[in-house]
Structure formats: C-alpha cells, structure tokens
C-alpha cells in the first residue's frame, strides 16, 4: 500500500523533534531518547522517574489534543496482530541491549557525533531495510 509523500509536514515535524531535543538538554540536561526515558519508569524504576513520566505523558497527550481539535494524522498498520506482537517484543529487547533507538542514537547521539550512536544508527537502518525487503519481497507480507 502506498502513502503520500509529505516533505513539508515531515520536515516541520523533524524540526519540532530537534527543538524538543535541544530544549530537553538546556532545561533538564537530558538526552531525548525514548528508550532511555521509558526504560527509567520500568522496573527497577529510576529515582528520577517523575520528569520521565511527565515527558511521556506530554508526548501522548499532544497528538491526542491535535486530533481532538479536528486535525487528522495518517495512521495505518499493514501487518497482522501476531506480527505486531513479535515485532514489539523484538524492538523492546533490541533497544535495551542496543542502549537506544531512533530518537536517542539516530537524532541526539548522531547530533553530538557519538561514535556509538553513529554505529548503532547505521546498523539499525541497514537491519530495518533488509528486514522490510525480506518481509515484503521474499515472504510477500506478514
């Protein structure tokens, strides 16, 4: 299934993500990595969990307000529920051992030229590309 090419909205969204990453550093002194922030509210819960919970709540509430105000956000899941559960488990294990994901390594870590983050980003982008190719063009979808 195709999706519409949205360069302006995507660039605007990307700039907001970068703005949030910058602001979290200047105000809270923290990396805006979703894996790290979420990991800190899972057991064993980190002692600084309140700001983490607040960040997560804000990240969920804002899109909710946006769509409730009459705006639309494209959303479609082109895979089965079973694949969604397996994908979720694999993502959870991978980001924990890889110490980060697209936001932490791909944006914040790359922006400060961390060798670990550059390596992690190259590895997961290639791994994702290979997986999508295998799933769609060899298995024919899941």
């Amino acid at each position: 299934m195709t999706t519409e090419f949205t360069p302006y909205m995507s660039l605007g969204g990307g700039i907001l993500i970068g703005l949030a990453a910058t602001l979290l550093m200047v105000f809270n002194g923290r990396i805006a990595g979703m894996t790290g922030i979420l990991g800190g509210i899972l057991p064993p819960v980190s002692s600084d969990w309140p700001w983490r919970a607040a960040f997560l709540a804000g990240a969920i509430i804002a899109p909710m307000i946006y769509v409730m105000s009459g705006n639309t956000i494209g959303f479609s899941v082109p895979i089965s529920t079973g694949a969604l559960v397996i994908g979720g488990l694999i993502v959870g294990v991978g980001v924990m051992f890889g110490s980060g994901c697209t936001s932490g390594h791909g944006v914040c870590g790359m922006a400060r030229l961390s060798p670990r983050s550059i390596a992690a980003t190259v590895v997961f982008m290639v791994s994702t590309g290979i997986t999508v190719f295998v799933v769609r063009h060899i298995f024919g979808g899941i």
């Binding site: 105000f27 923290r30 607040a54 990240a59 804002a62 959303f75 895979i79 994908g87 979720g88 051992f97």
Partner: protein, 144 residues
C-alpha cells in the same frame, strides 16, 4: 519546574513525531521499501531533526556549563562500539522492519487511540523488561 518543562517538551516532541509521519507504521515501512512503494518523507524527518539538534546542542554546550533546572548535563561518555551495541541495534532493526514502529514513534502514536499501538507498546515494554531480566540473570551488568 523540571517536571513542567519535561511535560511541555514532551508535548513538542509528540506533536513533531505525529505530524512528521513517524507515528504511522505504513509510512515508516514504505520509507524502507525502496524496491516497492517507496515514500522518501522520512529523510526529511531525520534530516530536520538531526540538523536542528546539532545546531541546538552546539548552542547549549557552547554557552552553558549546566542545564537550567538540573545540576549537570547527563550525557553518555562511553565511546566504545561493542558487540552488545551492534547486536542490540541489529535486533531493534528487525523488529522495526517487521512492525514499522520504533519507541519514539509508538509512544506519541498512543495518543491517536488505535488499538494496534497499544498491542505493540505492550509487547515492546514486555521485551524491554525481558531484556533487563536476561541482562541481570545472565550478564549481571544491568544498570538501574
């Protein structure tokens, strides 16, 4: 103040993710499907976020020695590329390629209210807790 700032900044992050298309698995998967229904939009998300953050961090670290609401900047100092980082990242890519959801895309997507996101996030949190359990039991290197 640090709680309030985290809430507001989380909102900016969430709206950025939502309008960028990162919260839409179909769009994310199409970005990686160069051999099929390719949608290059995510280059603009990654590029916009990366350039803005690089400039922003340069300004922050160039002008301040401490953040406004905390005592110190907390930035990872580890620079060693080890097997754990590479295998973990490769594993994450497999899951991202299957589902089209990454953690930063999925959490804001919860606010859109679709059941698929709740199923994914539940499984992802299960995977994170499982990984931490394996880590503590097998490698004894888990960090709080």
């Amino acid at each position: 103040m640090r709680i309030l700032s985290a809430l507001v900044i989380g909102m900016i992050f969430g709206i950025g993710i939502a309008i960028s298309g990162m919260a839409n698995p179909a769009k994310v998967l199409n970005f990686f499907d160069i051999a099929g229904s390719w949608d290059p939009s995510l280059i603009f998300v990654m590029g916009g976020a990366l350039i803005t953050t690089a400039i922003g961090y340069r300004l922050v670290f160039g002008t301040r020695s401490t953040p406004l609401f905390e005592g110190a900047f907390v930035v990872p100092g580890n620079r060693i590329i080890d097997r754990r980082l590479v295998l973990g990242s490769a594993t994450f890519g497999i899951g991202w390629g299957i589902s089209g959801f990454c953690p930063g895309g999925a959490i804001p997507a919860l606010g859109l209210g679709y059941s698929e996101t709740f199923i994914f996030v539940g499984a992802m949190i299960g995977g994170m807790v499982l990984a931490r359990g394996i880590d503590t039991a097998v490698f004894k290197t888990a960090k709080a």
